[in-house]
Symmetry: C3
Subunit: 653 residues, 3 copies
């Protein structure tokens, strides 16, 4: 398994290919061309079930035998996939109970992809069956380097199903979690609106209620659904381990996917991969509040911090020292996508820009999507390295010109961490209290500040050991367990500077408020009280000392032993503390980009980390002793006496 | 029932409390603190069914006995509630037919509140049963001052159910109303698109039709649904009267709730109460067309005229001279709410501002929502008088500082009325003909003009006796019966000045146009003809003599005996009458704030009512010989030589 | 059928009337008044089924006998309708399976109109039955001039039903089209996401899929649904032909209706009619991207090119030389409508403006909607020639003042054609790749350019013989068959100038891309390759030589034998060809109004067609030797030394 012996010295490349989409006579030529382009890996067959098993139990391995053989003969390494993202029509029509239900109660029908309910016992059986036979046949094939499970869990809002198998399984999952209904009713606060249950079977998924359902109910449904994905994949992983010894197993995660706990789901994998579409991400996944002019400015590259954040997030999913933290980009955009409201061409140089950034943030392999543009079905307008007509598209030339030797492998080392976890994400977004904010918006505000200050950032689970870090930022960790609080306290005591955003530790594990309404598990550490929170509608602002201005959110504190570093001026919070600090921990209550940057800069300086002030669009990333300097904007920027051309990257000191 | 003997000399205060949400050991301390704060009333138990009857027929009175006893011992007066807004899970799962259906045909499931169909015979039986046992046990308890039925009828769009029990009951209701299908087909104009029915069972609720359903069908469904609420409540009221002699019965109505006829539903009550959330109202219920900058300007107080209108509306629901017209605010916001898109903190002084306004508009009791902020479930982010941690929140201090003696009780007396009724509201909004207008928008435009002119206003049913009033405004009474027309005519003949807005009396009782297309029942009175109506898209305007400019709507008239006071200039209506007057009645066809204010000012002057010109945010209200002067805006305003501080209130001459 | 002998010398007028909506005693007076107004035709009874057959099999002809007799006696010619747009309640409740299902899977219930599924065998039987008895009774009545089938096919999104009868019929339709599942799977590219079918019954309508369904699936569903409409109408037409010899049969089509192939559905008709609502069209059907200030500018007339395009489109539906190409406006707006978000009054003169334009674009009859405004049901706020009170409304006077002799009949003759077809419309909009563009938007951009250049335009099916035309524009014909390509090539070889927009010929008949990704069937003709397409988000632009700027879309080419006339400057397309030309064919890749106008102007000049440069709002149209000059704007415009008054029309040289 990714043993040190097999670790290459530098970045390697790959591609996603679909032999079943083209005439077989093209396969050899494609493989040769891929090899000539310097690619190492080819991922195949994640949507090929209907060709592998055209009828129940009738397997057709012949074509896949030849395809794998062709890549292998050309010296390429194959990443095979379990095809469970697309159960074929015969399966779905014979067993309609495998289909999921949307939040409106409608069955999500066959006819695209991801049409299944993770909790379906029937589907689980078919998932195990197809995984087993596939692993049995190809598990020890010399051309097969490893496996991808399924494809993009959660894509198209498929993490949660609101009926059928999931609805049937939910009460049992709750019973296992709570033991008694009394415990569940207490944890959820069901007395609130007489929502108390007296029988497990009374509990439905939290949808189609008259007004918003109990947030504790919703949070547990998110956990339940996440757990189904975890166990669904675990069944496949176990079979792949059994029948394909020595091969890696991974999964390709999604940009900002929020439907399940990625730390849990990543546990059984050797390493993780993710699918990086910078321009689509900007149009489709940019957090609320992203201005249209920002989107236009970065229309042809995506925003550097959105992509960087996802790299850092996925790099941090698996931190098992026996495994290493290298990750892959399994699908890297190499031309225009087709699924955003607008799908501009990437700028010249963008494919190299993205590839270099991926490397600098820790990717060991970057695999482009896809080899040749599809001529049929849903993705006709999506590009590949080759055009529809097999001529090289713009990205091809950029890949060909990459000198992989310039991108040595090695660890990303930083003393700055940003905390993240899915319980907090879910709890935060359940009751945002302001239509323009969200967990991701809040988190990215802090992340962007760190990157503008020139820092590399580890995105780590909020419950991690923080002592390795000099500076840790917790932008939106609203659900802090007592274990986590103890780890934070230990780290602060050992010298880590910890900066928390608003709402930190406000929620219990059930998404209630603590009886005190305080950031209860951190009260001693913080040395103060939460006082007020103010949801600032658009146009309404709150002044802060130092010339800062809060928008969106302003939270105030009553310090006990803590010191106030900034306070509010005027308005309902006049004179109250906006930022308090006790020893190594600082809490920032106000949403103000300038304030956040100022506080972070001072903390970094204190920690001796030499923050910079990078101009708009310019970013630094460091790996393996190299420092990558990039300008993502469409205009030349002068920085430290250097003119940085638009959409350019280079190594610096 | 609220006999003169029991009437206090001044405003009294109360609070909504939830003993079932906190440990019992806190109850006595809370009650003592409530008493010390000067509160008189505590409303409890409106959502407590699952604690009162944890299993079918197994009642648990012990906790409520102790809770009521605790308040009573502390000298507080308890307002008990029927808990029917939240039937428990065991009831709903045993009898799923009690659930309502939304307009999309989906069952509205258990898991929040108000999950029932008013027309369900099964639910009616349970409603009577729980009301009876509760009234039997507490009806004569010395600590119980009175009762609230259910909670906020219609909240979350629950007035109408579109399937199940309501769908089953609708044909019978229609048969009782019309007698024959011929009469119904004629009244609805069903010949129009072959919509004629030949059997009562063919008639469904008006939803999921291919295009808009017949507005007459929709109007009768609104009446049907309203009638279900009326009779649902009447069953509870009868039981409360029987088992709880000498106690009042009321209901807490909602801001701008439009789903049922409040005059009908209020009939069986002793007095009415309503729930006043000024900042949430501004964000959530402001009429279409309210500018975002207006919302920002009043973000921390709400708009004075939105709250004032609701006070005046609910004051006018019960005008029985044997009962008096005093009303309560049953739930008064005393900090930030949680249910609007943005939930800013109220300004310093806002709680006193709101309380004083409530008093000045006729409230006898103001009861704050809620005692302590909930630490669980849907309203974690909603404030109370106490914070989550039991420390006083900002509103607490404002309540403590209130001198109730400054707010003597007594009548609100005004000679100005504004007309309102629910048939007109429904009929107006069925075919608004302009996406930016509505009944409430139209009504509030006139109401705001009256308040800016310094007037106190009675909001009264359009069918009322108007002779007590000097000036009556009918902004949007589009459905005028012949009885109503006769009353208007009588009032005008006795000297009342009547000013009507556009579309007045345009509709028959079935929401058809009159065969003449005229304001038929008022033609003689008005002395002219309706000529044209123009729906002015945004950006399109229509000039009027006197320098006025119409937007949104322009209606023209052909005067017979009436005089034209303003006419249109240019455009399709060039030279046609925009405002006509015959004797005491004036009809304003144009939507122009300056024109409306000018016409109203002149009418008030004529009537000797001394209109003022109040600056933005400044309002006057008079009660019991006192005049309250308030500035609701966030800036100091100078008026008549006085500097009015932001968010301030005071008595004036 | 419309034999030359019966052709009048000039425009004739008509009206839509509803005798069943008014007391019978009004009929004779209305008919006399209609005759006096100079009307020839009266269309009746399209929604009268419940009066013709009040109970199953119980026909009531008496009233219709008298109504037809009354019109006939007054000298009016009656257009009778099959009443199938509104099956009565007894039919629907007895046979609920006739109802259609919306895309959300819900049954679209009785209670408005068009509540049926074209594919329902049960409804087909009733449709034939009511058509037969009606045709038998009135088919040879001397007062009956002809027939309208049903009413406005497709209105309210009724072209496609997503369940029930349509869902049941779809697999059989596919089997008839493809023969084998292998052929279908190949044509649709179902291998893409394992969407391959192994049994016809596995195929559902393309809705409620997890993400977008296969566009080939959607395209065939559109064709299937269109085919149901075609055969539904064909059954009625056959019966009308049988029982009503010598009478015409037509249908009234809808503004920009996109739900079926109008060329197919029009085949069995004698001529076509359409329903022209210029102000509603502007608010409701204006293509995406139409600025609000354009809507305000033309609020009282509609946009001249939107209405003109529909005239030209419907004129072109039936080009059978034995039949002639004259069409009718069956419903012509003559006052304000009620169904748009805003419904302003038409300008003074607008009814004459619209009538004159209709004539100039080839209408032989203009029939106003409706005689008297309805006093009941869904259209109370819709105007007619008479007001509710029977007094003439504004449009009446304009109709009365029309001198029909000024509008001689005769052909519209032009040497300029614009190509259109429904397969291209459907395919284009399935994957627009830019949220702000669409087939209609793209098509109208070119159409507007031609009209601003003073041209008359034939809108013709893309597969037509183009040799009669000097200049042909194909704005968005994305689906070009090999037959069509051969016709285009033949026309170019014979001297026709052909200008194509972007994406031309990009799609196969199954809406896949060609294996080459090229405008494959036209490659030889075009003499170049498609290179890139760029989806330009709002704010992102692309410069072009000649000072032009592309927005929305930029497509580049690699010329082989073609010449580049414009190329891109800067950006990802720098230096690439924006416009290429080979001989008589030009392809414009960039969406730039100025570029399009420049290229079209040069092509017209080359063809000797003398393009003009008409000011905003001014348009020319020519018929029968007359030239109509109109100013549609609300301001006076000076052109060629003449002052053109607002909203004015006149003949010119």
């Amino acid at each position: 398994m990714t043993s040190p012996a097999s670790t290459p010295a530098h970045l390697r490349l790959g591609v996603c290919d679909y032999p079943e989409h083209v005439p077989e006579e093209r396969w050899a030529a494609y493989a040769a061309q891929q090899r000539d382009l310097g690619l190492t890996y080819v991922r195949i067959a994640e949507f090929a079930w209907s060709r592998l098993e055209p009828a129940p139990g009738q397997y057709d391995w012949t074509w896949l035998d030849r395809a794998v053989g062709t890549y292998h003969a050309a010296g390429l390494r194959v990443v095979l996939c379990t095809p469970t993202a697309t159960p074929p029509a015969w399966l779905v029509r014979a067993h309609p109970e495998v289909l999921a239900h949307d939040a409106q109660g409608r069955v999500r029908d066959f006819g695209s992809r991801r049409h299944y309910d993770f909790a379906s016992p029937v589907y689980r059986e078919h998932s195990r069956r197809i995984t087993r036979v596939l692993a049995q046949r190809y598990g020890e094939h010399p051309g097969v380097a490893g496996w991808q499970t399924d494809n993009e869990f959660g894509c198209h809002g498929t993490s949660r199903s609101y009926g059928g198998a999931s609805a049937a399984a939910f009460p049992g999952w709750l019973q296992a979690r709570y033991g008694t209904l009394a415990a569940l009713n207490e944890a959820w606060g069901n007395v609130f609106w007489s929502m108390e249950y007296s029988d497990w079977s009374q509990i439905h998924p939290p949808h189609l209620t008259v007004t918003e359902p109990n947030p504790s109910h919703v949070l547990d449904y998110a956990r339940f659904a996440s757990d189904q994905i975890r166990s669904f994949q675990a069944e496949q992983v176990a079979l792949l381990r059994e029948h394909s010894p020595g091969r890696f197993v991974t999964h390709n995660f999604m940009i900002f996917e929020s439907g399940f706990d990625h730390y849990d789901v990543a546990q059984g994998l050797d390493f993780v991969t993710w699918d990086n579409y910078p321009t689509g991400m900007l149009e489709f996944f940019a957090p609320p509040g992203t201005h249209e002019d920002v989107k236009t400015h970065y229309a042809r590259t995506g925003h550097p911090d959105l992509t960087a954040f996802n790299h850092d997030l996925y790099r941090g999913l698996r931190r098992d020292p026996d495994v290493g933290t290298g990750f892959w980009v399994m699908e890297q955009q190499c031309g225009q996508v087709n699924w955003a409201p607008y799908n501009p061409l990437p700028a010249d140089g963008a494919v190299q820009l993205w590839t270099a950034q991926a490397w600098a943030h820790g990717a060991d392999v970057v695999s482009y999507f896809r080899w040749r543009a599809a001529t049929m079905a849903q993705e006709v307008m999506h590009s590949g390295l080759l055009r529809h007509d097999e001529t090289p598209d713009r990205g091809f030339a950029e890949v060909a010109a990459l000198n992989k030797a310039h991108y040595p492998l090695g660890p990303v080392q930083t003393r700055v961490a940003l905390l993240h976890d899915y319980d907090s994400l879910w709890a935060y977004d359940l009751q945002p209290h302001h239509a323009g904010t969200s967990y991701w918006q809040q988190t990215l505000t802090y992340y962007t500040a760190l990157r503008a200050l020139g820092m590399d950032v580890d995105v780590v689970h909020a419950g991690s050991d923080l002592t390795p870090y000099a500076v840790v930022v917790a932008p939106a960790i609203t659900l802090v367990t007592t274990d986590t609080a103890a780890r934070w306290e230990a780290a602060v005591q050992e010298g880590t500077r910890l900066i928390c955003g608003p709402r930190t530790a406000f929620r219990t594990p059930s998404a209630s408020a603590w009886p005190t309404g305080q950031f209860e598990p951190l009260r001693g550490l913080i040395g103060g009280h939460l006082r007020q929170y103010d949801s600032l509608r658009p146009g309404l602002t709150q002044a802060i000392t130092g010339g800062h201005v809060a928008h969106t959110w302003a939270e105030s504190y009553r310090p006990e032993k803590a010191q106030t570093t900034h306070h509010y001026q005027g308005g309902p919070l006049d004179g109250q503390s906006a930022v308090i600090r006790q020893g190594g921990i600082t809490v920032i209550g106000a949403h103000s980009e300038t304030l956040i940057r100022e506080v972070l800069r001072e903390a970094l300086q204190e920690a001796g980390l030499d923050p910079l002030d990078l101009p708009e669009g310019v970013r630094l990333s460091r790996r393996a002793g190299q420092t990558l300097l990039q300008n993502w904007g469409p205009v030349t920027v002068t920085w430290q006496g250097r003119d940085l051309a638009p959409v350019s990257a280079g190594m610096t000191r």
